[in-house]
């Protein structure tokens, strides 16, 4: 009803981008202020678990909303940082397992948080819990598999190799024969920390495994 002033237009733009993108992006339930959750999603230990995996005590959050106000993801999706922290306070753990990992880790929220919560680190803790209780997202398994196999998260194309030669750049470390030792160190460390087990990385598959990782690789191997 108000004539379309600048703030109105701005608001409209964010909402349009926001809801349509978030829905089409993952199609899950939208988390909004007045959603009702049942006891089924509830876990009374969630707050403690978050602390165990390195997050702050979410019960000290003041629900001021500063984090939502500065968060690039909150601006574009129904996932508002303050609401997510509230869900943590209430112990609604399983809801998080349906949300994609879309915190940019930009730490803007922390910069503006009067209670020193650092929501980004809370979400890191929740990802730790999800990986252990629900499973590992595919993009994580694919990119860690590439790193285990090549030391780096991507493989250079032939034209990039030619460019390096032409420009007289030193060869990429993982194309040198000595790099095998590095890969075996990496594998030993991943076994030591039980990361191989956690992520479900099969090792020692040779070329066939490499091809599989490439086929599955999506953006990570492009």
């Amino acid at each position: 009803m108000t004539p379309g002033g600048a703030p109105e237009a701005q608001k409209k733009r964010s909402t349009e981008n926001g809801s349509s993108d978030a829905k089409s992006a993952e199609g899950g339930p939208l988390i909004v202020e007045d959603s009702v959750f049942t006891g089924a999603e509830h876990d009374p230990d969630f707050v403690k678990q978050i602390i165990r995996y390195g997050g702050k005590d979410v019960q000290t959050c003041l629900q001021c909303g500063n984090c939502t106000g500065v968060c690039p993801v909150s601006l574009k999706t129904p996932y508002k940082t303050r609401n997510l922290i509230k869900l943590c306070q209430y112990g609604y753990k399983r809801i998080f397992f349906t949300i994609p990992w879309i915190c940019a880790g930009c730490h803007r929220c922390h910069e503006h948080c009067p209670a020193d919560i650092n929501p980004a680190e809370v979400f890191v803790a929740i990802r730790h819990i999800e990986v252990r209780e629900k499973g590992v997202p595919r993009f994580i398994r694919d990119s860690t598999a590439l790193i285990l196999r090549h030391g780096f998260g991507a493989i250079p194309s032939d034209d990039i190799k030619r460019y390096r030669e032409k420009e007289g750049m030193p060869p990429l470390p993982n194309t040198l024969p000595g790099y095998r030792k590095v890969l075996s160190e990496l594998e030993a460390l991943f076994r030591k920390t039980r990361f191989t087990e956690l992520i479900g990385l099969e090792t020692g598959e040779g070329a066939a495994g490499e091809r599989k990782a490439r086929e599955r690789g999506g953006e990570a191997s492009k």
């Binding site: 981008n17 990992w101 990986v131 994580i140 250079p156 030591k192 920390t193 990570a220």
Partner: protein, 307 residues
């Protein structure tokens, strides 16, 4: 100046020109820094993949990279905000004695130990400090400064309007440290101005590119929606190019523009921009791997240059 370049995953595989430009501008023909080559680095490792799933594996893997530099009497220099954030954060966590001991117990299985860099001896005590992890923008700004860079400029980019994009992990690499003022950063703008170009102002200048934390990998539409707002501000300000210090932000601005089908604005890494200003021929700088054609920008560079 002794630097060990940590090139990471994205640069050598997507934008090899960024690595080459950095080597050229730091090399003997220009800034004359000494580069210490290390051939045993791995992925930094990436925060969204490792830090999100297992903090211990993240720290052990990062520490292994840091060990390789600790005895080289060189600063580790990255050209990527992601590597910068991951490795700097690791040096901070390793200052905690318990964590460091724990990590060293794991590293012992591959014959390594993280101590940090030896600064001096007091009697028979050795004093160590954390390995110095630095970002190329900060290294150029602090070690050479505006004058030092401007001195090397043979082809001033006068009249060209540049939108700088610092990127979140350059501004807030860790919760403890910032190298530039996150609210009003100056380093990248200063480097652009040292090249003779104008760094333009636009609303919400420090906004996120949208790609970080695995968003680009998982929900590219969301990444692009975030980029779109920033792109619109940059476009409205009238700019000839976007310049960043991060290959992933570069990738995002480059790709998003293609996906969004908007009026294309070329995207360059600061090392590439400085190489052009130092008079390096553009054919060496790997622009063929950029999605938005850089040629229109290069034409303007040729037109303004006073050689």
């Amino acid at each position: 100046m002794r630097y060990s370049l940590f090139v990471g995953c994205t640069i050598p595989n997507r934008f090899p020109g960024v690595e080459n430009s950095t080597r050229v501008i730091l090399g003997p023909d220009h800034l004359g820094a000494e580069l210490v080559e290390i051939n045993e680095f791995t992925c930094c490792p990436a925060l969204p993949t490792f830090y999100s799933t297992d903090r211990v594996t993240w720290l052990v893997t990062a520490a292994r990279n840091l060990v390789l530099v600790q005895d080289k009497n060189a600063d580790l220099v990255t050209m990527c905000n992601g590597c910068f954030s991951s490795l700097l954060k690791a040096t901070e966590e390793l200052e905690n004695v318990n964590k460091c001991n724990f990590v060293n117990a794991a590293l012992a299985s591959v014959g390594k130990q993280y101590r940090g860099r030896l600064v001096r001896r007091e009697g028979n005590r050795s004093i160590y400090e954390p390995v110095r992890v630095r970002h190329i923008i900060e290294a150029l700004y602090t070690d050479f400064g505006r004058e030092g860079i401007a001195d090397r400029v043979r082809h001033p980019l006068s009249g060209l309007r540049i939108a700088v994009h610092n990127g979140c992990h350059f501004l807030r690499p860790t919760t403890r440290t910032s190298v530039d003022d996150p609210a009003k950063p100056v380093m990248l703008d200063t480097m652009v101005e040292a090249a003779g170009a104008t760094s333009v102002d636009f609303p919400d200048k420090q906004a996120c590119c949208g790609a970080g934390g695995g968003i680009r990998l998982q929900v590219p539409k969301l990444a692009n929606a975030i980029t779109k707002d920033k792109y619109e501000c940059i476009h409205a300000a009238g700019t000839d190019a976007i310049v960043t210090g991060c290959p992933y932000c570069l990738y995002q601005f480059d790709h998003a523009q293609k996906d969004l089908k908007v009026h294309p604005i070329p995207v360059l890494h600061i090392s590439q921009l400085l190489a052009l200003a130092f008079g390096v021929d553009a054919e060496h700088l790997g622009f063929e791997w950029h999605f938005v054609a850089v040629r229109p920008f290069l034409k303007k560079v040729d037109a303004v240059g006073v050689v």
